[in-house]
Amino acid sequence: QQPAQFTNPETPGYVGFANLPNQVHRKSVKKGFEFTLMVVGESGLGKSTLINSLFLTDLYPERVIPGAAEKIERTVQIEASTVEIEERGVKLRLTVVDTPGYGDAINCRDCFKTIISYIDEQFERYLHDESGLNRRHIIDNRVHCCFYFISPFGHGLKPLDVEFMKAIHNKVNIVPVIAKADTLSLKERERLKKRILDEIEEHGIKIYHLPDAESDEDEDFKEQTRLLKASIPFCVVGSNQLIEAKGKKVRGRLYPWGVVEVENPEHNDFLKLRTMLITHMQDLQEVTQDLHYENFRSERLKRGGR
């Protein structure tokens, strides 16, 4: 059999199914994307600010921060907000699941139960919808990625960090993030990153692994992937304020000794985190579907019921 020869549409051998990716493109643009990101970490680590910075939105406009006394009684809450972001015709429906109250209580022993239940509930609901008769309105609320915020003030992972990550690493993609990186010097950051990576390995915690760039990608992309992989866990700074620096307005934090610029790669890994999230959004969804969800599903079906 003679394989079809591709040179250009006018040549006799051209069939035209190389156009399929364009057809898929067109349909994807029309449909848009959905993504659910969960953020977990103690209060005051800058989670909300970071999320706002990442997506250039203000997700928490009327926020009231409770005082310590109120926090004593509080258990972990789950708060989900959805935002529709459009850029160059592509729509992203982003849901951010916040977990206020995590790590606040004096005794944190039960604080991750609520979070784990939430993740399982989304899997359960999806399984139920997927098995139903009418599959018209299936909404994918499964958590595709979890940013876990590690405090920069300690010497590495705290016991709560280890326990929590071990409890969810088979259910969701974990991306560890070192928050408020502007409290650390560059050397301190390197040391902390290494310490955390060692501890993650020591405890057998499975964090999200960026897939290696494929051999046919261009050199720039390969280099970018290498750099991203080498920078995990990302040390980030977030800010909603625009500061004047070097004649331009930048997002940053103004200190008497200088301005920390959020989007300056020499100041922190914010841009790397954002690049990683965007370029791997699809992969994060796929790993959630093909690994975490399938695990949940096969366990659930084996246990009984449909």
Binding site: E87, L133, Q282
Partner: protein
Amino acid sequence: AGPAESKTEAAMSELVPEPRQKPVVPMKPTSINANLLGYIGIDTIIEQMRKKTMKTGFDFNIMVVGQSGLGKSTLVNTLFKSQVSRKSSGWNREEKIPKTVEIKAIGHVIEEGGVKMKLTVIDTPGFGDQINNENCWEPIEKYINEQYEKFLKEEVNIARKKRIPDTRVHCCLYFISPTGHSLRPLDLEFMKHLSKVVNIIPVIAKADTMTLEEKTEFKQRVRKELEVNGIEFYPQKEFDEDLEDKTENDKIRQESMPFAVVGSDKEYQVNGKRVLGRKTPWGIIEVENLTHCEFALLRDFVIRTHLQDLKEVTHNIHYETYRAKRLNDNGGLPPMTVETEENHESNL
């Protein structure tokens, strides 16, 4: 890929309605439209998807139905510029017509522009060729449903494959004989039964036996007959997603279809170029010349513009209809899961 969103109410209306589960977790009210102060890069996701499609390749399954001698195999070879039909895969050209309808599926992998396609051509020799052709569409309908069943079984399996192999028929080209009069009763019967389970694209075969006027009149008559008999061929009106689709598809439905085609796998020299065609004493019929026949329109339609949509309608509409019927018949439960070692033991 996860399951599909169905596009229509009609297919589901006669089924048991599912009670919508109340949300378990309190959700803040929906969208706040964001004011972007910079560039995030969301549009690059599309590029990622495109790269992914190219890498994983895709399946496409096309069925051809029509009486023997209407040029089905030749047309498929012409469509894919390759020897992909049953007749090219070592079968004897002078083969006898089978006594019953047979289903013969041949698979090929073809590549173009870095995109790999696993093409399966399903031929149906024996259709319409008997003396008594009653119910000769049944083996075809059975085959189509068997592919849906195969997919469904894999989908409900406990340990299911990441990419379920797709053998479902995405497109069925139905060949109409160029009598110049009207559709035959068999044509109507077939299309009435099968348009509910698969995407049917009617084509007028061997269109070089008609003059331009005869062609125009015949097409009009065929369109009218299809409409009067309530036959919804692809692209079905009810599945147009938006105004853009509707305008584009209306034009195809009301003016271009059914495509009057000529197929050929022989090349001739015309005006210094090598073209696919048929040589006759009165001239060379150029297959890809739009003034000669509508092959190029069919090819562009099926391959260059609507390939993905054919697959999506098959998955989101036809397959879902089959699945819902199966679940309903089974009392709302998915069909029996594949027996594994464990299951066997527990059933003893």
